[in-house]
Amino acid sequence: MNAFLCTDNLCRHFGGVMATNRLCIEFEKTGLRSIIGPNGAGKTTFINIITGRIPASSGKVHFQGAEITNKPTHELVKLGICRTFQITSIFNNLTVFENVRIAKQANSGGSLRIFSTKKSLKKVACDTWVILERLGLKDLAGLPAKNMSYGDQRILEVAIALAGDPEILFLDEPTAGMSPAETKHISDLIKGLSKEISIVLVEHDMDMVMRISDKITVLHYGSIIAEGAPEEIRTNQLVREAYLGKDT
């Protein structure tokens, strides 16, 4: 139980489907862990349980020594457990700036100031600009989020998650639908972040996964079938079968 975040026999079933089957995974304080597996392997479900989107059927989640199983989402975020969504989830009618600012504000306080202006939260605004700058969204700051291109919306998704000052960040297929240039930008950013915080990446782009991951966990039918450094996973027979078996 000394790991930064770990799951202990985590299970979740949907009817008869074991989407998460007795998973014990440990995450370190920093570094980039990828979770891969064929469609329906249970990657998103696993993230959903840890981040409080759906309750576990059984099993436990520990974070920094304390149990956090099935805690409300907003409390987990306050602890530094943040995520992005596979299906883009942003504030459509707010501007790009407002999207990030609300995340920053929720994180740094001031939400109960009912008689001050939003401008009065200077630190929130400054931090928001820093994040927009870092993700290359500064020029789009005034655009309503719904009017962004799909790829830019995916980047905004990451920006919102980063605004929560995560200690561990779960990214559910962040680059799906991005252009090669955007993918490069985001994968460099993720790699850079993983020096400071713990990153958990779910991704189908194998080149990217092999290139940037420190460690890879492979799921199949809700269970771990392999875990190790990218080279080990590349040559693992079980993994090949899981992927090939699905194609044929």
């Binding site: 989402t73 907003h74 707010l94 407002e98 995340a103 504000q105 994180n107 100031r113 939003k118 605004a125």
Partner: protein, 331 residues
């Protein structure tokens, strides 16, 4: 990073020109009863402002927090009955104390109701507002000994309006009641606008936009939904206090689901998420209602037709019409 560009908000603050316009409008409205002695219309405008306040409070809930209440008039009713009962049974002259008791009581009723309601969202929330609203309606209707049941609460005294120890008027005088209402509604509008454009307002809007995402940036969604609900109900209770002072009477019909639908129409007619739009919507609604009811007693049918027409051709309400003209001017 202090030299960052101005904040790209979707809310812009009022331009000086608009501000001057609003001040002029307010002064004109305040002078109206002195130059125009028609008591009937002065009272009609007072009623429009009261319902405007109610519609605005519903806008806080629907337009900013994204929660639908079918019977927001229930909280106007509770406020009105309590103020009326206080004036009848406790003290016929303590205007401000009666209003305070009415508004606080409305809040005390709204709190547990809201606590239950915010555990849901969307349609379930809306249905719960209907269920609670009908419950309150039935209580008021059946509790004859206290509320006068079907006959309504009658004989509510008209207290003097005391300001810093001076009596500046009486609520029984239409012109005085008009001015009192104008000041209260103006203050409520300014305060609410302020609250809506605060960091707190930003939280409400985030919940309206995407409840799940709001939770995933660390917002305690239920708690803030409850705050939004309480704000809306306290404003509705304030409208209720003005209502009973203005009319001197209230019956259970004011708290019916039918009347609740009317308030919802005012908001939609005026335009969601603008605060002032629903006040205009209340004006249109009550004027039409009053105008048609002088010609036929089946005014609801004609009002229905007018509303259908407006919804079909002005789907974003009166505010949308303004934007339409703005676009025309630009082209």
């Amino acid at each position: 990073m202090s030299g960052s560009p101005s904040m790209p908000d979707s809310h812009t603050s009022l331009s000086p020109l608009k501000l001057i316009g609003l001040v002029v409008l307010f002064i004109a409205l305040a002078l109206l009863p002195f130059v125009w002695g028609n008591r009937f219309y002065i009272s009609l405008i007072t009623e429009i402002m009261i319902y405007g306040l109610l519609a605005m409070s519903l806008d806080v809930l629907l337009g900013y927090t994204g929660l639908l209440s079918f019977m927001h008039n229930a909280y106007l009713g509770i406020g009105a009955y309590v103020v009326g009962l206080f004036l009848i049974h406790v003290s016929p002259t303590s205007l401000w104390l009666a209003c305070l008791v009415g508004v606080v009581f409305t809040g005390l009723v709204a709190l547990p109701v809201g606590w239950i309601q915010v555990r849901t969202g969307g349609l379930a929330f809306a249905l719960l507002t209907l269920a609670f609203g009908m419950m309150f309606y039935t209580i008021v209707w059946k509790w004859y000994g206290l509320t006068g049941g079907d006959d309504g609460l009658m004989g509510v005294p008209s207290p003097d309006i005391q300001l810093f120890g001076w009596s500046v008027g009486n609520t029984g005088n239409p012109a005085h009641m008009y001015l009192l209402t104008l000041f209260v509604v103006a203050i409520a509008l300014i305060l609410t606008r302020r609250i809506i454009s605060s960091p707190f307002g930003a939280v409400l809007e985030a919940i309206r936009e995407n409840e799940e995402r709001a939770a995933f940036v660390g917002i305690n969604v239920r708690r803030y939904k409850l705050f939004g609900w309480m704000l809306a109900c306290v404003l509705a209770g304030t409208a209720g206090a003005l209502y009973i002072l203005c009319k001197g009477y209230i019956g259970p019909v004011t708290m019916s689901a039918f009347a609740g639908a009317g308030v919802l129409m005012m908001v939609l007619l005026g335009g969601l998420g603008t605060l002032w739009g629903p006040i205009v919507g209340a004006g249109i609604f009550i004027y039409i209602q009053d105008y048609i009811s002088t010609m036929t007693e089946h005014w609801e049918i004609f009002l229905g037709i007018v509303v259908i027409f407006l919804v079909l051709f002005m789907p974003t309400g009166f505010v949308g019409l303004g934007n339409f003209f703005k676009r025309l001017r630009k082209d």
